[in-house]
């Protein structure tokens, strides 16, 4: 029996904005956990991104603020120029440490911190993107007994990132974009 999941961490890069729109539009408003995302969009202004996503998302989307605790049923986006981490107390932490794989925020940094903080009570989702960020992080999540989810590379807008995640970490579920929200709604339904 799998333990309850505390948090879903998510990473996307090229093609990510469109994928996020579709994913977030399909989520159940009673989703029983917070969704924390690193999205490489090249935009300096995450508040604008949040505003855009809020138009289609069923759940409220915010920029993650350091030292606050993510709440179930909310979506948080990493601020640009900072790594976003989850601390042992489950709260957000930021860092300006060097880029990891040319990226800051880095999906790996978020995922690895989530794996360390939440162990098996963590789920990671890697979606469309043109680099291999997230692959190591997803492997760490799965090594700690957490759940690994990957968008099917065959239908991802850019397949490199989900393919790298699959190769490096494998996955418990690998599904096309349209089927991800229904899966999350089922996996993380309210008690």
């Amino acid at each position: 029996m799998r333990p309850r999941t505390d948090v879903l961490v998510l990473g996307c890069s090229a093609g990510g904005l469109r994928a996020l729109h579709i994913l977030l539009a399909g989520l159940d408003t009673r989703l029983a956990l917070p969704v924390v995302a690193v999205c490489h969009t090249g935009s300096d202004d995450v508040s604008l991104l949040c505003e855009l996503l809020n138009r289609s998302s069923t759940l409220p989307v915010h920029e993650a603020m350091e030292r606050t605790t993510p709440q179930a049923g909310h979506v948080y986006i990493a601020p640009s120029g900072y790594h976003l981490l989850l601390g042992g107390d489950g709260r957000f932490a930021l860092s300006v440490d060097p880029r990891v794989g040319f990226a800051r925020p880095s999906i790996d940094v978020l995922f690895e911190s989530a794996a360390d903080a939440h162990g098996p009570r963590c789920a990671g989702l890697v979606m469309t993107g043109a680099n291999s960020d997230g692959a190591l992080g997803l492997a760490r999540i799965r090594a700690h007994g957490g759940l690994g989810l990957v968008q099917d590379p065959a239908e991802a807008e850019v397949s490199v990132m989900p393919a790298a995640a699959l190769a490096q970490a494998g996955a418990d579920h690998c599904l096309p974009l349209a089927q991800l929200a229904p899966l999350l709604n089922r996996l993380f339904a309210p008690e």
Binding site: M65, E66, R67, T68, P79, Y82, H83, L85, L86, G87, G88, A93, L94, S95, V96, D97, P98, V109, E112, S113, D116, A117, G119, H144
Partner: protein, 277 residues
């Protein structure tokens, strides 16, 4: 209660060893980032595990500067977050201009990019000659780098863009000499800068400052240490002195935050509110 994993225990033992053997206290550093930095040291020093790193740091004192440098990982750029420097230029410096002498404390100066950004702002405001910048860090290696003021030439373009976006009046190239792959900050900008070792964790009031810059340093600290350092800043500032933090820092959980009011909440520029006791 879940059993902590091995690495979590190893990080605690490493922190304990640094404190007991070398007197450096990382006990109140936020663990998520600290763990990454310790693991980066494991990589760069080529040990198998954190435990092996701990054994080496206990026995080999010559390793300490590299450990300290690795745990401070300073990353910045000149005029990072241009709107902040524009605000300092347009609103803070004109207020500081009323003082006959201006003391500025850059706490956590890293490699000095922000120190020299500040020096340029002061120069262009005609205030440099009566200003004193105290630039401190707890890493001697970082201070040595900051003192040199040498940066990779490939960064110059970003620095220049930031400088202009921050309202720079000339060309950033007026302030450095380019040679080969490096740019060197002009000595004239170093004249009124004093570099010194200061550890925010354990050292006390350093000077009486009109402005303190400490950007993206407190993000690495736990709540109690963040509050402690804010108190230190409060006690170091003159009445109505200014504090400039990183633009994504959150001090709302700190008691000492009550002593400051926001001059610009979004840019995290604060002003000391209460009068000094």
């Amino acid at each position: 209660m879940a059993r902590p994993d091995v690495e979590e225990v190893e990080v605690e033992l490493f922190v304990r060893a640094l404190k007991l053997r070398h007197g450096y206290d990382f006990g109140e550093y936020a663990r998520a980032s600290l763990r990454r930095r310790v693991n980066a040291l494991v990589q760069s020093l080529g040990t198998e595990t954190i435990s092996e790193l701990t054994a080496r740091v206990l026995r080999d004192d010559t390793l300490l500067p590299r450990i300290i440098a690795g745990l401070s990982v300073p990353v910045s750029e000149m005029f990072r977050d241009p709107p902040v420097f524009r605000k300092l230029r347009d609103e803070v410096l004109p207020l500081l201009a009323s003082y006959p002498r201006i003391n500025i404390w850059q706490a956590g100066c890293a490699f000095g990019q922000e120190v020299y950004s500040l020096a340029i702002l002061l120069h262009e405001a005609g205030l440099y000659d009566r200003s004193q910048i105290y630039a401190t860090d707890f890493s001697d290696a970082a201070i040595a780098r900051a003192q040199e003021g040498i940066f990779p030439a490939r960064e110059a373009r970003l620095y220049s863009e930031n400088y202009l976006a921050a309202g720079g009046r000339h060309s950033l190239a007026d302030y450095y000499h380019a040679r080969y792959e490096l740019i060197t900050i002009d000595d004239a900008l170093k004249r009124n800068v004093t570099f010194a070792n200061h550890n925010l964790v354990c050292d006390g009031v350093f000077c009486e400052a009109h402005l303190i810059l400490c950007r993206n340093v407190l993000i690495y600290f736990t709540d109690p240490l963040q509050n402690h350092v804010l108190e230190l800043f409060r006690d170091s500032l003159v009445r109505s002195g200014f504090l400039c933090l990183g633009t994504r820092e959150n001090i709302s959980f700190a008691r000492a935050a009550r002593d400051f009011r926001a001059l610009d909440a979004r840019l995290r520029i604060f002003q000391l509110e209460q009068s000094r006791p």
